[in-house]
């Protein structure tokens, strides 16, 4: 019963968060955004006292429910584990806690957080790790399926679906996502929650609280027949069947053991703030009853391994490259349009609401939720070590449109604070700079003035290169007090592949 409840709740969270990540329309963020905001580490970084408090209280009462219900990476591992345990029953065994390892990782993690070494933080933060998998590997599949629908919708004059471009937003992030998925798939398939109980810093912290939780699964030694089935199927390897104890710091409250016990010797019950009196009971004491329970061994069903193979296939499919259109340049034809290239910006561009690059850098856990929600192809994860996998902005595919606040709406970590559309128009995140040598107008190659006409802030004026000489060519001049760095000028500049005007990021954003 409790196991079923756990599975239902976990499914709701897992599907909800996955949908939140793969939905490129932004339509679901209003309904599902709270699921991301409930994630422990992002909430902690966002300084969200309410959520962190709630999660800690939840853990203190019920154990690590968070790990088996709310955390998508945990649920994902449970799915792999379910495959593993079906293939081969009784594959687990109790192992002592790797305390040194897990506390070392926790300390390193905290140090990394404080020092701002976000690459390490990002790689092992659980929710972010799942976010990357969903955004890099599942979102493309979702988009392709959507595009198939859109294909047919287009042919039946329906506007219910529209197609979306699938592109590799960051190679290193994709690689990290694939590696994470493969490592976790193998670990979870074989041993369940190894990752959660040795590496995951959130698991370590919550585990410490769970030790004192008021509700716990407890083995009733008067009923136990020492069949060891619970321990052999425990995904957390935390049931010591020899002395009938459970390591509650590692138990993820999955309730599997309750169902596995054929004599109902394990129950999830109130033990109170004192933690109850779970004292070790040796095997010999119940040895007499032990033989009553047969140990059953399941058959290995190797075909289930296809599950992993299919996951790998998804990754392989992503190798699709962007084809640039080859077109005739003859009369009546479409001229070739070279794709734009990103300029080498001196400082990073981060979205309005980030307050500063520093704030963004210190809070972002690289979950990629904002990347998956950016409708303009502006946000993509970085490959630089300093800001590894953290999103940054660039304007080759689109610019930061005035009506969109998607990234600020969804960021669960407070790296991008919520802003309104009105506020956004006055938040300066960067300044446009002109590269005169490339400019059509300044070079006398064509009459243009595109940047000046299209600037939503009215920050760009075309001025003569020689003061007072009406015949001299014009050049765009940027009023840095008006420019907010939205990138419309850069994106629409006809010069390709590198635009003649581009935006330099601002380390500290300000309101103009």
């Amino acid at each position: 019963m409790l196991k079923k409840l756990r599975i239902i709740l976990a499914a709701i969270f897992f599907i909800g968060i996955t949908l939140l990540f793969v939905d490129f329309t932004g339509a679901l963020k209003g309904y599902l955004g709270w699921m991301a905001k409930l994630q422990f580490l992002p909430a902690l970084l966002a300084g969200n006292v309410v959520v962190v408090g709630l999660l800690l209280i939840l853990t203190l009462f019920f154990g690590r429910i968070y790990c088996s219900v709310i955390c998508p990476l945990g649920v994902m591992q449970d799915i792999f584990f379910a495959g593993g345990i079906k293939a081969k029953k009784n594959r687990c065994s109790y192992s002592p806690a790797k305390k040194i390892l897990k506390y070392t990782v926790l300390v390193l993690f905290v140090v990394a957080l404080v020092l701002g070494a976000n690459a390490l933080v990002a790689v092992i933060a659980p929710y972010s790790a799942y976010g990357r998998i969903a955004q890099s590997l599942l979102a493309p599949v979702y988009a392709w399926v959507n595009n198939i629908f859109a294909y047919f919708a287009e042919r039946s004059e329906s506007y219910a679906f529209y197609s979306t471009e699938v592109w590799i937003k960051g190679v290193s992030t994709l690689v990290v996502a694939i590696v994470t998925l493969l490592v976790l798939a193998v670990l979870a398939w074989r041993n369940g929650r190894t990752w959660c109980n040795t590496i995951c810093p959130v698991g370590t912290v919550l585990g410490w609280f769970a030790k004192f939780s008021f509700f716990k699964p407890v083995i009733d030694t008067t009923k136990c027949v020492n069949c060891t089935k619970c321990g052999k199927n425990c995904k957390a390897s935390c049931i010591n069947t020899n002395n009938h104890t459970i390591d509650y710091s590692r138990c993820v409250a999955c309730m599997d053991c309750l169902e596995n016990c054929s004599v109902k010797a394990i129950s999830y019950k109130w033990v109170g703030p004192k933690g109850g009196s779970v004292k070790p009971v040796s095997v010999d004491e119940v040895n007499a009853q032990r033989k009553a329970c047969e140990v059953q061994s399941g058959n290995v069903d190797s075909s289930k391994r296809e599950f992993i193979a299919s996951a790998a296939a998804v990754a392989g499919g992503l190798a699709a490259t962007m084809a640039t259109p080859k077109l005739f340049a003859q009369d009546g034809a479409l001229a070739d349009v070279m794709p734009k290239e990103a300029p080498a910006r001196n400082s990073r561009l981060v979205p309005a609401g980030s307050l500063s690059v520093k704030n963004f850098h210190s809070r972002c856990t690289s979950c990629q939720l904002c990347v998956s929600k950016c409708p303009n192809g502006v946000l993509r994860p970085s490959s630089e070590l300093k800001s590894f996998m953290q999103p940054y902005m660039s304007y080759e595919k689109g610019y930061c449109r005035p009506e969109c606040t998607n990234c600020a709406d969804v960021c669960p970590a407070g790296a991008i604070k919520p802003i309104t559309v009105e506020e956004k128009t006055s938040i300066k995140i960067g300044t446009a700079v002109v590269v005169a040598e490339r400019c059509l107008e300044a070079g006398g190659k064509d009459h243009c003035g595109k940047c000046s006409r299209s600037c939503p802030a009215g920050a760009i004026t075309m001025m003569h290169t020689v003061n007072g000489d009406e015949t001299s060519p014009k050049i765009p001049v940027v009023d840095e007090n008006k420019c907010i760095g939205c990138g419309k000028c850069e994106n629409l500049c006809p010069v390709r592949p590198l635009s003649a005007i581009y935006v330099e990021g601002l380390d500290i954003h300000r309101t103009i």
Partner: protein, 465 residues
Amino acid sequence: MKTNIDLNRRSFLKAAGALGTAGVVAAALPGCGEKAAEENADFAQEALGEVPTEGMQYRHFDNLEGVNASLLGYGCMRWPWRTNEQGENTELDQEEINALVDYAIAHGVNYFDTAPKYLKGLSEEATGIALARYPRESFYLATKLSNYHKDDSLQEGKDMLMRSLKRLQTSYVDFLLCHSISNSEGFIKRFIDNGLLDWLCEQRTKGVIRHLGFSFHGDEEAWKLLMEYHEKVHWDFVQIQMNYVDWEYPSEESMTSKRLYEDLAARNIPVVIMEPLLGGRLSNVPDFLAQQLRAQRPTQSVASWAFRFCGSFPQILTVLSGMTYMDHLQDNLRTYNSFEALTEEEFKLLDEVAKVYSGYPIVPCTDCKYCMPCPYGLDIPGIFAHYNKCVNAGNVVSSKADEGYAKARRAFLVGYERAVPSVRQADHCITCGLCMTKCPQKINIPKRMRDIDAYVEKLKQGLEL
């Protein structure tokens, strides 16, 4: 220069109208009783009636010796493309073109009009391949001197005609046109100063060119100049844009078709009509206008009205239609192989329709693609086609408070992405103005682009329109 059709327009209409009434009854009730047994017949054919193989009207003018042109002429500017795996149009669908030509000829069409610049320069060759399968004297071939870009030297003019002959697999053309005269300076530069017109007249004497004319998209000044030149070079025919909208309500700064037609009729110059459908736009007029036409003649297409309008004038040699698909061809053959001129009432109705239509915010683009390629990659005709489609479907709204705003907004924006890739949309126009010199419809393309982009921006931002 006397034509064998010396009916004036009014009496011509009367005569045709009387025939027409009888024709409608006959056409509307095909096989009501006797065909009931033929249940297995093709439903579409049964509903629409067979495409008549006979009955094409042929026009002859005394000054065009030996010419008996079918009233429906084939415009070879819109042959079907074959789309490759990348979704690009890199070659024409020759098989389909051959089938269209076969069908057209079998149903009485004998006038084919192409140009070196059509279809990215592939039209002449494809047309030549299709027609080479017929005896040369069984059809009339028209092509043009499209020396309006870059090189307008005499040598290039000569070479261009020779290249055309080679691609068309022939030693002569029946009709040669100075292509797309848009202003007097251009005409003088392209044909007079370089001596090209004299050379063309020479070729006419030699028989390489059987009949010499020009196609016109120009202003009043150019028109006057060309009419003056008639005295010198003697235009055998002239090709003009004519349809029931342009007749009195032309778009932008263009001259009325009425004025052009009457000037030519006064000089007894046979007229070839182009853009009878305005690039297909008159087959897709806003719904309530289409309903008015359908109410009159429920069994006939909206396009048929435009074709009947053109065919109703006596000075017309042929009406060119760029038929991409078999159903276009069949529909036009239904119109012309049992041709009925418009009645006086129908002329009035079309005048009403034209008046309303010309007030619509439709961009008068005919998808001729002369403006292309836009050096900055815009798909100009694609953007206009999408915009017009939305205007016709009522998906261009004037206020956020309008009923159906949300639906119209989605249809416009989603449809826009489908019709035109982002990098080719209106917001990428830098108003360089190159296209404006090329547009035969004199559309102020940069301004239209700015307007469409402003509309899109307002939709995207959800601002009041």
